[in-house]
């Protein structure tokens, strides 16, 4: 290919990437450090060759990679369904960042030779049976089959990632949305806003999980307008999340422990909700659902605001004790595995883990890894142990 044609092709791909994010020439030029937008405009029209470090900066802004721009890697469009999402350029950038992390995640899985895990597809829902009862039944089945235990919140992310093959990504979404989910060539993934309260994050993950397992039977437009009041799919997703995080038997047992003379205090409710790592409001509605409390009474108490202020006071410390990572432990593990095996370079490792090179040792240290550790295997397991179940 001639140089001019090559420049035009690269320029066109860069323009598409920019427009996809809704960014202007001026905005991007400023971020790259061009003195005016003409340079970028010339690059996009193929009038000027792009330098390697300029391309490197642009792909970072566009949340893509050099190989994607230079090689004819065709990437299928991905549908991302947002919960309380917006259509702003910032939201589009976060969405692209989410997709790029998912692609990197998938690349690392493939490099490590892992078979695609699509266990989540085995959970069958039928559209005509999509009602509150069946949703609750499926949630209960999940808790039993996948070993969530009595407090599913504590093992939720691990089970979804390790056993069901769903990627979980935590990003600071600010005010642009609370969560999102998608299924692409890279598999299923959930995006959550790491700036939200830990119990909110757990609930959002469980909620988005419902959208993943009903992905093929629910009309995307039906989910897209899900923030609208009265959206049945959203209500079902909430019911599923509630049943999953608050299994009937352990919840009733915990409540019974606190009941004295048929009465229970708000503080006790908050205590139990904290124990299950759910919001007090979600917990109370679950009690209504289980027939333990009266809906009218709970609604009145919530409207009066006493529970909310007490809840806020009691949970003040909870908010700060849990720091969600940007990416999951499994993602970090895979990235380090690829690095140790020489499948990705150190620069790429830093890029995948979204830190500067200088910050790598600190980040890896926080996950208990040491990039200086040259030996990957700490001990060998004899075949007798390896093959015995």
């Amino acid at each position: 290919m001639k140089k001019i044609e090559f420049n035009k092709e690269i320029g066109s791909k860069l323009r598409t990437s920019r427009e996809k994010l809704g960014m202007t020439l001026e905005q991007v030029s400023k971020l790259v450090g061009f003195s005016n937008y003409q340079s970028l405009s010339n690059i996009e029209s193929g009038k000027r060759s792009i330098k390697v470090q300029e391309l490197s900066s642009l792909v970072k802004i566009y949340c893509t990679d050099i190989e994607c721009i230079l090689l004819n890697k065709r990437e299928k469009p991905v549908t991302v369904l947002w919960r309380n999402g917006s259509e702003t350029p910032q939201a589009k950038q976060k969405e692209q960042e989410f997709i790029e992390i998912c692609r990197n995640y998938d690349l690392m899985e493939k490099k490590c030779g892992l078979e695609p895990n699509e266990e989540y597809k085995t959970i069958g829902f039928e559209r005509q049976k999509l009602d509150y009862e069946s949703v609750k039944k499926i949630a209960n089945k999940f808790v039993k089959c996948y070993g969530f235990g009595d407090m599913p919140s504590y093992s939720l992310e691990k089970i979804l990632e390790e056993n069901l093959g769903i990627k979980i990504i935590y990003l600071d979404l600010g005010g642009i949305g609370s969560a999102a989910s998608t299924i692409g060539e890279f598999g299923a993934a959930i995006l959550v806003n790491k700036r939200q309260a830990p119990w909110r994050i757990k609930f959002n993950i469980a909620h988005e999980f419902f959208h993943i397992i009903t992905w093929d039977i629910v009309n995307k437009e039906e989910i897209r307008c899900r923030e609208k009041e009265g959206n049945i799919i959203e209500k079902l997703a909430n019911s599923f999340a509630s049943s999953l995080l608050l299994p009937e038997k352990p919840v009733i047992e915990e409540v019974n422990k606190k009941v004295k003379d048929n009465e229970i205090s708000f503080s006790d409710f908050i205590y139990i909700a904290r124990k299950f790592c759910v919001s007090t409001e979600a917990f109370l509605w679950r009690l209504v659902d289980l027939g333990i409390c009266d809906a009218g009474g709970i609604k009145k108490s919530l409207e009066e605001g006493i529970i909310k202020s007490l809840d806020k006071e009691k949970r003040r410390n909870d908010w700060y004790t849990v720091e969600f990572p940007i990416i999951s432990e499994r993602y970090v593990y895979l990235a380090l595995k690829c690095f140790v095996k020489g499948l990705i370079s150190k620069g790429k490792l830093a890029e995948f883990l979204r830190v500067e090179r200088a910050e790598l040792p600190k980040l890896l240290g926080s996950y208990g890894y040491n990039e200086e550790g040259e030996r990957d295997i700490a001990c060998t397991v004899s075949s007798r142990h390896r093959y015995s179940s």
Partner: protein, 192 residues
């Protein structure tokens, strides 16, 4: 005097960390860096008390001891050609600076690449450019600087050779000289 050296980001950072940067540059007289490595990657080095000490290469660039190989020498087109020659499944995933440095090595006929990055060493080996790479240990020992290298295995020649061997594995599936077919040597002539 050994071949002129092109250093990767980690090598520059480690030399600063060990306080050897000026000695090495002074000994060799001229050190080469890819433009992306210089402009976007070599930024800080850690010390026991400060994890982010800025790296300033300007004084030695002004003196002509550090030469930055600018975009005119290695174009994005060259990077594309370089990437296209690898088998997609075998290709190590590299950052822009590493890609640019390796494309420079492919395009030059006398520069020698010093890296301690496993993926970059594997790539050198996969391209059958083993004789164009050098370990950190060799870079230092050439100028007779004594450092306790045992503390870090990645500095050593043994480590470098181990990863060269790792990189040779995919060649079993490819004919000899597979990667050499795209090498156009000495495109930009001897570097001085």
């Amino acid at each position: 005097m050994p071949a002129p050296f092109l250093l990767d980001t980690d090598t520059v950072v480690e030399l600063h960390k060990l306080g050897l940067w000026n000695s090495i540059v002074r000994y060799y007289g001229k050190i080469f860096l890819a433009q992306t490595v210089y402009e976007t990657e070599v930024r800080y080095y850690p010390s026991p008390t400060n994890p982010r000490i800025p790296i300033n290469l300007e004084p030695l660039i002004k003196k002509g001891n550090v030469k930055i190989l600018k975009g005119k020498i290695i174009t994005v087109k060259k990077i594309e050609e370089f990437l296209n020659e690898f088998d997609v499944t075998e290709r190590p995933v590299l950052q822009a600076g590493e890609l640019e440095s390796l494309a420079i090595i492919v395009d030059s006929d006398h520069l020698c690449f010093c890296t301690m990055d496993r993926a970059a060493i594997r790539a050198l080996s996969m391209m059958e450019l083993v004789n164009r790479g050098i370990s950190f240990e060799e870079l230092i020992s050439n100028c007779r600087i004594r450092v306790k290298l045992k503390a870090k295995y990645k500095y050593t020649k043994k480590y470098f050779e181990e990863w060269i061997t790792e990189g040779k594995f995919p060649l079993i599936h490819k004919p000899s000289g597979y990667f050499k077919k795209f090498m156009v040597k000495g495109k930009f002539g001897p570097i001085s």
